[in-house]
Structure formats: C-alpha cells, structure tokens
C-alpha cells in the first residue's frame, strides 16, 4: 500500500498542490504587481494582470514623501535588539524549566501560557501610563523593553522543547571537567541546539517586526516610528493610497519572507518539536 499510487491519486494530488500554491502565492503576486503600476494605472479598468509599463514611482514616493527609510531602520533596530535579548533570556529560563523539577515549575509554565491567552488590550492602557511615568513613551528603548517581555513566554516554551531533546549527560560531563553551569550551557549546549535557537530568534524577530497595536500605542514621532505604525497611518485617512500602501507592503514583507524561506526548515522543527511529542 505504501508504494502503490493510482493515476487518479497522483493527478488529484498534483491538482490540489498546484491549486494551493497558486492561492497561497497570488496575494503576494498581486500586491507586487499593484506596487509596480504607475499611481494612476492602479485605478484603471480592465485590470491588468501583468504590469505592461513598470513604474517605480510608488517606491520613490515612499522614500521622498514620507520617512519610510527611517521607519525601516527603526524597525530593524528594534526587532534585532529585542529578538536577541529575548532569545538570550529565554535560553536561561528554558534551561531551568527543562532540566529541573522544582516546586512552582508548573506555576511558571502556567503563567507563561496564560500570557498567550489574555487579550493584550486589557494591558494597553496601564502599560501606556506606566511607560509615560518612566518617560519611555515614543522611545525605541521603551518599545524594545516591551517587545522583549512579549517574546519571552513563547520563546521559553519553544526552547524548552529543544533542551529536552538534548541529553543532560552532555553538560554534566562539561561540568565535571570544571565548567560552570553557565559556561557549560553556552559552550556545550548552545552549539548543539543552534538550529533551534536560530528558529526561536527568527520567530521573535518576525513577531517584533510585525507587531502592530503596541507600536501604534507607544510610538508617534517620525524619528522613532516603526513600519507597522506607519502602515496603520495609511488607513486612518478615508482614502487609502493603494500605490504607496502596496509598495510599503512589499518592502515590509520582503525581509521576513527572505528569512523564512532561508530558515523554514528550522522553524518547522522548532514549532513542531514540542507539540508532536506532547
């Protein structure tokens, strides 16, 4: 049965997979096509499915009429720093949760899982007030701190799964050889778990890069704004400039898309490692 495949089975498989691929990729294709039309050509009927005259006007406008370059730099900075710090912190907490049985271990896990269940808006008001007290509203540092906190729970849960795949004999041997626990962790375990750590980092990075409601709440000056805040600004006005919007969308998606395509194998491993065994 394993090796038999009927012609009908094969055809239906190909049709299904091809259809899924087209449906999945089409929205991206469409936004790229839209972004490459001249601003006026976007609102021309009949629709053109292929840009006959490629125009970069939308992209140029984005950088000349708005500070989109600045927003991209801000997003890159915030997401990179937050994802790096969150991954390092989670590495430590995940290690403890994976390796030791202690009173309160279940409670810590539950507290982390609970953060995934509560709608964030309940916290938005008080968070804003707290941040303004510490003068961290409209500050990249402030946004980074908040992003670190929202990345930690899921990242810890994910990394814990990876630690459990590595035998603890490994760091025990290193500790017998005179390593401290911290250096055993970084010298012995981290190299072994690199794919998992990479997956966690990427996951954090993409989450921070895409995060919307916190950045909209906390950031407002052009100097500090990140991409999502700028994008949200497009819909506050009644008429959406679809040309600028689609160009901005393409520029936002391309970096994450590149990372995901490059690392999809790691991410799949990372996300499924815990779930499948559980």
């Amino acid at each position: 049965m394993i090796d038999k495949q009927t012609t009908f089975g094969r055809v239906s498989k190909i049709v299904f997979l091809a259809l899924s691929l087209v449906v999945t990729v089409f929205p991206l294709y469409w936004i790229v096509v839209t972004s490459l039309k001249a601003p006026g050509a976007i609102y021309e009927l009949p629709l053109k499915y292929w840009p006959t005259e490629v125009s970069f006007e939308n992209y140029i406008g984005l950088f000349t009429k708005s500070d989109f370059g600045q927003y991209m730099v801000n997003s890159l900075l915030v997401a990179t720093v937050a994802a790096t710090v969150a991954t390092l912190i989670s590495l430590l907490s995940a290690y403890v949760l994976a390796r030791f049985q202690f009173a309160g271990r279940g409670a810590v896990m539950a507290a982390f899982l609970l953060t995934q269940m509560i709608p964030g808006f309940i916290a938005l008001g008080p968070l804003y007030m707290m941040m303004s007290k510490f003068d961290l509203v409209d500050s990249k540092t402030g946004l980074i701190l908040v992003y670190i906190a929202i990345c930690i729970p899921f990242c810890t849960i994910m990394l814990r799964g990876f630690f459990e795949n590595v035998p603890d004999a490994l760091e025990e041997a290193a500790m017998i050889d005179g390593c401290s626990r911290l250096s055993a962790l970084f010298r012995v375990l981290v190299p072994v778990m690199l794919p998992g750590i990479a997956a966690s980092f990427i996951f954090n990075f993409v989450n921070c890069w895409n995060e919307l409601f916190l950045s909209v709440t906390l950031m407002n000056s052009d100097e500090n704004k990140t991409i999502p805040t700028a994008l949200a600004g497009f819909i506050s006005s009644f008429n959406i400039d679809w040309g600028a919007m689609s160009a901005a969308a393409v520029l936002t998606v391309v970096p994450t898309l590149a990372i995901f395509a490059f690392a999809s194998k790691f991410i799949v491993q990372g996300l499924t490692a815990g779930a499948v065994k559980g």
């Binding site: 929205p27 309940i122 930690i152 810890t156 895409n210 994008l231 998606v253 898309l257 999809s264 779930a275």
Partner: protein, 323 residues
Amino acid sequence: MTVETQRKGRRRTETSGAAPEPHTFVPRKKKFSSRTGWTMLAFMAPAAIFVAIFTYYPMISGSQMAFRHWNLNDLSDTSWIGLDNFKALFENPEFGTIVRNTVVWVVGSLVPQVVIGFALALFLKRKFRFRSGYQAFIFFPWAVSGFLIGMLFRWMFNAEFGVVNDLLMKTGLIDTPVPWLASPGFAMTAIIVANIWYGVTFFAIMILAALQSVSDEMYEAAAIDGAGKVRTFFSITLPAISVTLGLTILLRVIWIFNFPDIIWAMTGGGPADQTHIITTYMIKITQEGDYGQASALGLIVVFTLMLFAVFYLMAMRPRKAKQ
C-alpha cells in the same frame, strides 16, 4: 495545566528509557545543592522580571479597571462601580451581534483551516521532488503580519478595482461586482476568507509533523490485514495524531479568538459595526477612552477561553485513555 502534567509524565518515561544506568529509572527528581538553587534562581530571574513588569503588572492593573469607572474623557471620577461595566456591556444591543460574529469568525475560519490543512499535510507526507521548495513557498503567509494580510485582502476585495470581483466576473460566476466590504454578510465572508488563507499553512505543518511521527509499521500491519485507504485513515492515522491535532486546535481557537488584526485592517468592524468580534470591539471602546468597559470585555474573553479550555481538555481525555 492538564496538558502539562500529561506531558511531564510522558517525558519522564522517555528520559528514563534513554538513560543507560538502571538507577535513573527513578523519576528524575534530583536533590540539588543550594548553589544549584541559586543558579536556577539567577537563570529564571530575568525572564520572570520582564514578564512581571511589562506583562503581568499592566494586565492585573488593567483587570481591576473592569470594576471601576475609568474613562479617559472624564478622569475626575475613577470610583469602584462593581459590575456596572459588565451590565452595560450585556445591555448593549450590539453585544449579541458581536458574540455571534466571534463564534462565526472562530468556527468559520477554523474548520476550513483544519480540513484544507489536513489534506495538504496528507499530500505532502510522501516525499516528492521539490517538496522542501514547495513547503518554503506555502510557508509565505506566516511571514506577513495580520494587519498587512488585512490590507492585502482589502485591496483584493475592493468592489471597483478588486481582483476578486474581476476574476469572478471573468469566470462568469457573477454578473455585477459584489460590494464585498460594504455589506455585513459579504464583509464577514471576506474577512474569514483572508483568515483561512492565513491559517491553513499552520495546520498543514503541524499535522504533517504529527503524521511523520506515526511509524510505517502501523500502516504495514494495516495493509497486511487488508484495510483500505479510508479504513486506514480512520483506524490508524486519525487516532495516532488525535492528541496533537486536539491540542493544536485548542491553541488555535484561543489564538483566533484573540486575533483582531485582519478585521481591524479590512473593515475596522464596519460597515455599521456589523463585523466586530469581541477583540475588535475592545479596540473600539479603548479608542473611545472607556478603559473600564474595555477591560470588562477582556475579562469576559479570558473567562470564556479558560472555561472552554477546561471543558475541551476534559472532553479530550477519554479518547486519550482508549489509545
């Protein structure tokens, strides 16, 4: 929490099975020195501090607003008002619509996501050329933020210049353009379509991973016993992955429930507040300044989801025992 204990139990046997020395068969509860205790504390501290300050403190402080008059437009009076915020919500004529929309949004998105994702996983299970390349491609929705997905589909569902209407007219399915986002029923359909598009990959990948963990011997045994494809699917495949599938669905329900981004970008809850789900409505009243009512709504969400999770896990249990 039930999940946790089950998991732990299983883990323990796994570790002991893998360990070579017989004495490690004892559950791995080591006595550690106080030095190790301090190390653990130091390792745990940064994560705990961050989550406590930036997540739990605002959440708890936000929760108590639910029982207060807390309106940004009038901060002179922030007195305790008991359950008045909840009462106001239940008496709101829109509340029924919002709850109904939330159910439609969760069920309408989830069921197609599971079915299509399952089919995709089954087709991807057998190796073929370009499979990893294919997987990387269908992965793409994940790289896009919920807000941008909303904007992408808002543009595609545009009544006048939208590609959806254009394609439907070209194939002759409709004669006149559908005002997708201008009428409640169509708008609801459009936002659910966008969400299905987003979520299929997630299920495909989780289910695929689960399928790959089922041993070939089981299928071989079934084949020897003369089981057909359908029978094999229901008697072998489905039971073998039911736990993973069940937990994945639970997590997704919680997640979709709390996922206002697509709707916020596509319709903003409109037309005429007819496509609000609970969380988008929460954003709306937050923006209007009524933090009290918004957090009352938030508490309703938390309570509902916890209740759901408990019942769901209880319902899943007997199936697990049978295995």
